[in-house]
Amino acid sequence: MDPILPDIQLIAILPEIILALLACGLFVAESFIQREKKEQLGYYAIGALALTLLSTIPLWGKEISTFSGMVVLDSYALFFKTALILISAIIILMSFEYVKIERINLGEYYGVILFATVGMMLMPSANDLLSFYLSLELMSMSLYVLVAFMRKDPKSVESGIKYFLTGVLASGIILYGIAFLYGTSGTTNLGEISVFIKTQEIGSSPSLIMAFILMITGFGFKIAAVPFHMWAPDVYEGAPTPVTAFLSSGSKVAAFSVMLRVFINSFDLNSGSWWQILWIIAVMTMTLGNLVALTQTKLKRMLAYSSIAHAGYLLMGLIAASQIGYAGIMIYLVGYAFMTLGAFTVIVLLCRKNHRGDQISDLAGVARTNPFVGLTFILFALSLIGIPPTAGFVGKLFLFNAAIQGGFYWLAIIGVLNSTVSLYYYFRVVRVMYMDEPAEDLALSFSPGMKIALGFTAGMTLLLGLYPEPIIRAAIDSVKIFL
């Protein structure tokens, strides 16, 4: 008997193939380049990402399902792929100066970022529990390495171990959930699972509930939702700052993108009482994240709790389970990625020789000596709170609107109250930047890369707030696949 060769359309994963090959090339080139010239590999990585971005252009508007339905390419996947490429490029731009100061200017740093990006880009395309798990692992493995990259700094190694252990546990739990889902439906394809659950009317079978609980636990770890958030502050604090930015933007965007596909397809969110579990998690996540952020004195820890709170807002869209809710998640994810990357860029600016600069007090008077940095940080803070005219406002508008239209009034009220709480701790930082006396040796480590990263994130935060129509249209078109 002849083996049946699968009908594979490689074009569906063309961007990932290009990026993976170029990342392999980076590792080969790495061994030939001297320590002082490793920066070139950063430019190489930027070039690789630019090429990958270009390769997505011919794919727009296509709908391809290939590798026996394991990978799909649609506008939903492309939306996230584009965002993830941009996020990764900004991370590399903000790393140039930082890796030199922290003495981790090794080529592998850029290579591992590229591999993580490949994993992230495959995640929104995954239409099968196995391809989703595989891409999740590719991302996670790369991030474990990146978090512990400052291997001579005990904090970084500690956070690497913590991230590794919790991450592996989460992956194991997700895998257990996958096993239950497969055991119930007899297939790993998300589309077939959805058909099976709808036709067999087993919405409340014990094994399906078990699968849901295990999956939400595993994803809860990955997106740092309460009560699975405890790793986040420590890991965010210890990791190299650009990697922290990558964790709180890239990995969250990718995890949410695949979470939407898995949950909407596998579990019929509109019927049943799944939303009750999600409701409790969402409320706990945003409330605890915001309240604990109030008392933080370290910038990275504060942003870690803020990123936990934002995961709570994002879950509102999943609870609403409507077109506007899903579109809201997509818009908010992109906006959130840019504003949080911008805020981290400001922290990276503070890092200079012999001075880590991760306390809020280190920002004292920065706005007086560098008015532009002060203004951009105000912009990011406004966006993180959700005040117009910023990207955060548009995203929150959609999410709260979805919650109200879905009849979840209390959820919307709690969300708005939480946004008000967050105003305090973001503007406490702004106050320190403007009101306090600047330190004597205040010299920010500016480099061309940092300027581009800061300008681009600020520009995108403002642009998505002032002219959000294209992204809204793209998001609403993309989520049609779920309805």
């Binding site: 002849d2 083996p3 080969v28 790495e30 030939f32 119930t184 007899g186 297939t187 077939e192 099976f196």
Partner: protein
């Protein structure tokens, strides 16, 4: 799509599990009951391919073993993939050949990287 997978479909696995368990337990138990017990010093030594052990097995050993072990596992797995491919090579044809070349190419990038970084040098 198949019918609902009932737990009873997995009954053979459970039976197999108990047979496997019984195989180990019974073998050890039988040996224990049947064999003559005449211990002396040489017999109680740890078996090291006939060579007398000169130190305790629990000792520090160079970290390099870890790297070598990792590389070994990697290329061991590669062989596992190569065997079924080689067996059905005629049927897979050109497509299979190209796929395997790509697979090996990616592995060799890793090998080359490890080599250049000196992971294969002992000192």
């Amino acid at each position: 799509m198949s019918a609902v997978n009932l737990p009873s479909n997995y009954l053979p696995i459970l039976v197999f599990f108990f047979i496997a368990l019984a195989f180990g337990v019974v073998t050890i138990l039988m040996g224990y009951l049947v064999r003559p017990k005449r211990p002396y010093l040489e017999k109680l030594h740890a078996y090291e391919s006939g060579i007398l052990p000169d130190t305790d097995a629990r000792m520090q050993f160079p970290f390099r073993y870890y790297l070598i072990a990792m590389l070994f596992v990697l290329f061991d797995i590669e062989m596992v993939f190569l065997y079924p491919w080689a067996v059905s090579f005629n049927k897979l044809g050109l497509f299979g050949l190209i796929e395997m070349v790509l697979f090996l190419l990616i592995l060799f990038v890793g090998y080359f990287y490890a080599w250049r970084k000196g992971a294969l040098e002992w000192d």
